[in-house]
Symmetry: C2
Subunit: 336 residues, 2 copies
């Protein structure tokens, strides 16, 4: 396999990697999210991810940067790429339960609520407006922007958004066994609320059933003037669906081949329907001799915290696939 | 009077104005701060200042951008300069009681405590480290940085810091009648704690008796690579005293002539002792025919929210003193 599905014909001088952190209470429902040792602990994951990427260690909690099943977290991969490229990432707090331990650009959003019973993001429109200002601001300091996300439970909000906007989506998961029926059940109830209230405007759909990352990412996308890549799988496709529904220009999406190859999701089909270009990174984790990384290939974790986008960016900055793989391996070995 | 005391010989392409927001509980002691309708309301002032600067109106509270005595707030002046220069300001939340209504770069600091009874900024060292990262980050997006502040009660923490670091300081105030004895009394008790514990390291002095703005500003100053101007009076001199005591390179300070002319403070003397260059803007508010602005000349308000630095920056960007004055007048007239 090629490392990149396609090498884009772009030039840039000032790249920036940023990650949007957010929570949705859906991740606290048993069985929805694998991003945490317990359902309640999933709320803390974005904070720990950001701490690992910025400092290279998690010191605020006695925890290793591995998933409950022993895979290195995507944040470890993103961390290793920031080191390899000597990049300083920017974190954006879209709405978290816990205070981050790193500096964030904070829009002072709230944790996303359970869309089955109430509006998930009541201030979606405000967050979109704040995102627009951030996009303007970042346009002055960079000409290529990769945006990752850390939102446990976010593939379920993505499913709700995609379905509500008319796509026949099935979405990915960080579990090997995608809890499809659990997600479908949540989605069915959320969509019934949307349907009952005759909600169609994109930002109203986000308000009803999205998460706080989505309007911020859409806002940035609407004003950013450089090359923009949303780094993630179905969650970033949901953001693209919102952008498309608002009649705005679509950014590109970059993710790992492991998300594309998830047979329980239909990433490429949704991307085609939206009309968004999607690039894949295949880091070849199966041949590195690391059991935890190899499990990405059999469908565990797959992506997160912009890991795919971070590897993609490292390649664009001139690092070879061999360098990239070696750096990831040495980073995750140091944590073991 | 000349508009600027001195025109610096610098060139720059990408200016940035930023403002550090913070609280100290000292502002809630009756008589310490004039920056709010009641002592408790002073805690809200940085939030309202930032909202005014970003949106041009304060909509989150039913309040006009005037001081309790009817002077236009310094934030109005800063707002008018951002408009004149088409600049997008960046806000940094160093530690506030209330959530801002605008996006901030947030270091997740705490409100400064009363230094008479406990450590004022227990995490001063952490905030300094976060400031260093911000300085690195902003160096990539700008080559000239003006940093203002909004910290009600901050002249009292400045007095404590300057005295603790060995300067024979008396400090300015936003009141016409500077509550000198109140500040002296607070300072005496705070310094007794410092003395009893044999505290001399600069960041420990901040921990004992500073406010959250100070370590963040000092951290930014230590890593920022462009031209740096701290915009404010005695509060920014206190930051310079910390920077000096740490053996780091000193930035310049810019403030209004109204702070220099405050006979209850000794700004120029302290600046000479520290060895910091200080620039003055004399906007000639006495000749604008606006009663509230004219009161700046008789020693009310004087400065705040980087207003002096914002006017200075507007001049450097090619706007004439007449343009600057006219813009300020039209802005504050629109609020009346």
């Amino acid at each position: 396999m090629k490392f990149l599905s396609e090498i884009p014909d772009i030039t840039f001088k000032k790249p920036l990697f940023c990650a949007i952190l957010g929570n949705t209470l859906l991740s606290t429902l048993p069985g929805v999210s694998g991003a945490g040792s317990t359902p309640e602990n999933t709320l803390l994951t974005p904070v720990l991810d950001a701490e690992l990427i910025e400092h290279g260690v998690i010191s605020s909690y006695p925890i290793k940067p591995n998933t409950p099943t022993g895979c290195p977290t995507p944040a470890s991969i993103t961390r290793s790429m920031m080191e390899l490229c000597d990049l300083q990432p920017l974190f954006i707090n879209a709405g978290l339960r816990h205070h981050p331990t790193v500096t964030c650009l904070d829009v002072y959003g709230d944790v996303g609520e359970d869309p089955r019973s109430r509006d998930a993001v009541p201030r979606a429109q405000v967050l979109f407006e704040q995102g627009k200002l951030i996009g303007k601001f970042l346009s002055k300091s960079s000409d290529l922007l990769v945006i990752g996300e850390s939102v446990p439970g976010g593939t379920t909000t993505a499913l709700c958004i995609l379905r509500a906007l008319g796509y026949e989506a099935s979405v990915s998961s960080s579990f090997v066994e995608n809890p499809v029926s659990r997600k479908e059940e949540i989605c069915r109830v959320a969509l019934a609320r949307i349907s009952a209230d005759h909600i169609t405007a994109p930002m109203d759909v986000v308000k009803y059933t999205g998460d706080p990352m989505m309007p911020v990412a859409a806002g940035i996308s609407s004003t950013y003037t450089g090359h923009l890549f949303l780094a993630g799988g179905t969650q970033m496709l949901a953001v693209c669906a919102i952008i498309k529904a608002m009649g705005l220009n679509l950014p590109s999406v970059v993710t790992t081949s492991y998300v594309r190859d998830d047979s329980t999701a239909n990433l490429e089909q949704i991307a085609r329907q939206i009309g968004v270009k999607i690039l894949y990174v295949d880091p070849g984790f199966g041949e590195l001799g690391h059991a935890g990384l190899a499990r990405y290939c059999i469908g565990e974790v797959k992506e997160g915290m912009g890991a795919g986008g971070a590897m993609y960016l490292a390649y664009l900055l001139g690092h070879s696939p061999e360098e990239i793989r070696a750096k990831i391996l040495s980073t995750v070995n140091a944590y073991s």
